[in-house]
Symmetry: C2
Subunit: 311 residues, 2 copies
DNA sequence: ATGGTCGCTTAAATATACCTTAAGTGAACC
DNA sequence: GGTTCACTTAAGGTATATTTAAGCGACCAT
């Protein structure tokens, strides 16, 4: 018994036929006549030495052998298709798929995207806003903006921005706030999305850094996504420990203020990530250069800040 | 850009060439001339619209596109090969691969196998003695003898034998043992292999069932595999809580005795397991019938026993 | 019950894809 | 500087895949 593969066209014909349980439909899918399919199946059955389908009245059903063969071939062809698609994408500079977290997408990327799109009308953008770990090949993604330490083998990964977090609130709310003790009396807005870090930059950490380790930070509102926490602060619902990347536009237009110089930062940053080698693709390069240009414009918000690393 | 697959022979040629980084060697593997390979690669590159290899002096190297394409295609073809092999095995009744735990293989299967082999000289047997969970398709296994509750979807699973465990020792050692209290003074041999059960049938359970919950069972010898524990008991090293399936031959020939009627059993049993539908394959059926016949011959060891379920 | 339809099969003809042979290129090695 | 090695190219042949057309049997509707 040889462990070589049978003719691949026959295998592909089988996969389609078994999936549809109909030679007719499978033939349509492969854009051939039913006769061709019948011939291919017969050929494959001859190679195997046993039938793969039982021919019924006016339908076909899988034999045990067919049932054994189907899942593996389906998965196998799907993998081939995915690999081919990923390779095609490399040479296609008319589409670019970017994945980032929901907060970064909503508060940073989305408001700016039209500028990139206007400057690059030949590139069709797609966004996948999720915190899920994506597989570049499997999920058809070109670029990821991810929060992390970098250093993963096989990826190009460059820090985007040294971010930091500091108390932020509406100007109205800020009027009565002079000291850290004043802050603790306001409703605290908590962002619970950073669950994957060992030591999370939260209200407890900030008050500890401010010399008030015993402040009770358990009260207030909790959000599972950073952009929702910021939205609450915009409504004047309280004070949020806001991250630069999702608040800079409100700091810029005055809807939020950050009266304390004391800020927290972490060893992890937002990073620009793509498969190693693809950073030179024209579309990727253009997006890369654009995003770093945009980032440079928000650097000045760090001036005069007292930024403390927590780890 | 179509998301259909490129010509499959071209893809296969690429996979081999990329793996070898040599068209020559790839051509040998596929049993064609180098010219054919060159043609196929060129064809695939034309489909993609970009080169997959960079042609060097007298070698080839993968481009970024090639590096992207290789892993997926390799995995894909490997999956197709595995599925085909598994299907071929269904129609091949000259080989039978059985997996079972090390103890069951050593103490039950191995000593009896020659009888099956003599009665079925046309079947070539292979054994995989491991506790690892095997995948029938991926690991090329036909039949598994596994300890468990059964009920898994997609598998034929039939209880082999209602096993039980009871204190066993050499006849010499047994001379001074009249009561359970006597037992506790002997070296206890522990079998630590049943780690996957919630409640393990161990010495603590047995003494508790015997009405002696406070016996200290921490002393003695510990083994990570049941057959080694039994071997120690055969040497007279102590008393083991022996499982019927791995000791019946010694109970039969008198090398071990089991003086207490009190025995433990669990909801889980040894089971005969194979992919659903394959239980009717001639080679599988013959092995199935043989093993149940053999099992019937050790049923009489249960006579007069006081078997208690633990769960 | 019976003729029409549907889905698979078969056989012969045809088209396409694949492979081989043979000649050719360029760089590396001796 | 000639030889070798690995890939390339082109032409021609062969094997493989596909179509066309005819056929078969069972279901279904009349």
């Amino acid at each position: 018994m040889s462990d070589r593969l049978p003719p691949l066209t026959a295998l592909r014909a089988f996969e389609a036929a078994a999936r549809h349980l109909s030679f007719q439909n499978a033939a349509d899918e492969l854009a051939v006549t039913p006769a061709a399919l019948s011939y291919q199946i017969k050929n494959l059955e001859a190679h195997l030495g046993a039938p793969l389908f039982t021919r019924l009245n006016r339908a076909v059903a899988l034999t045990e052998a067919g049932k054994t063969l189907l899942p593996g071939t389906s998965d196998g062809f799907e993998q081939l298709r995915a690999a081919w698609r990923a390779t095609q994408r490399l040479t296609d500079d008319t589409k670019l798929t970017i994945t980032a977290g929901p907060a970064f997408t909503a508060k940073w990327l989305a408001p700016r995207m039209f500028r990139f799109a206007q400057a690059n009308p030949d590139i069709e953008m797609r966004f996948a806003a999720t915190l899920k770990v994506m597989d570049f090949t499997r999920d058809d993604v070109d670029v990821a903006i991810r929060f992390g330490l970098g250093g993963d083998e096989g990826y190009y990964s460059e820090p985007l921005l040294r971010g930091w977090l500091t108390p932020m609130m509406t100007p109205t709310l800020a009027e009565g706030v002079k000291t850290a003790e004043d802050l603790a009396k306001l409703p605290l807005i908590h962002d619970d999305s950073m669950t994957f870090l060992k030591r999370v930059p939260n209200w407890g950490e900030w008050f500890a850094a401010a010399g008030l380790p015993d402040v009770d930070t358990s009260h207030g509102l909790r959000f599972s996504q950073a952009d929702h926490a910021v939205d609450a602060a915009l409504e004047g619902a309280g004070v949020v420990l806001g991250r630069l990347s999702v608040t800079e536009r409100y700091l810029g237009n005055g809807r939020l203020v950050a009266p304390f110089a004391l800020s927290l930062t972490t060893p992890a940053h937002y990073r620009f990530v793509c498969p190693a080698g693809t950073e030179t693709r024209p579309a990727v390069k253009r997006f890369h250069d654009w995003i770093y240009g945009e980032m440079a414009e928000i650097d000045h918000f760090a001036e005069g800040r007292d930024i403390r690393m927590i780890e």
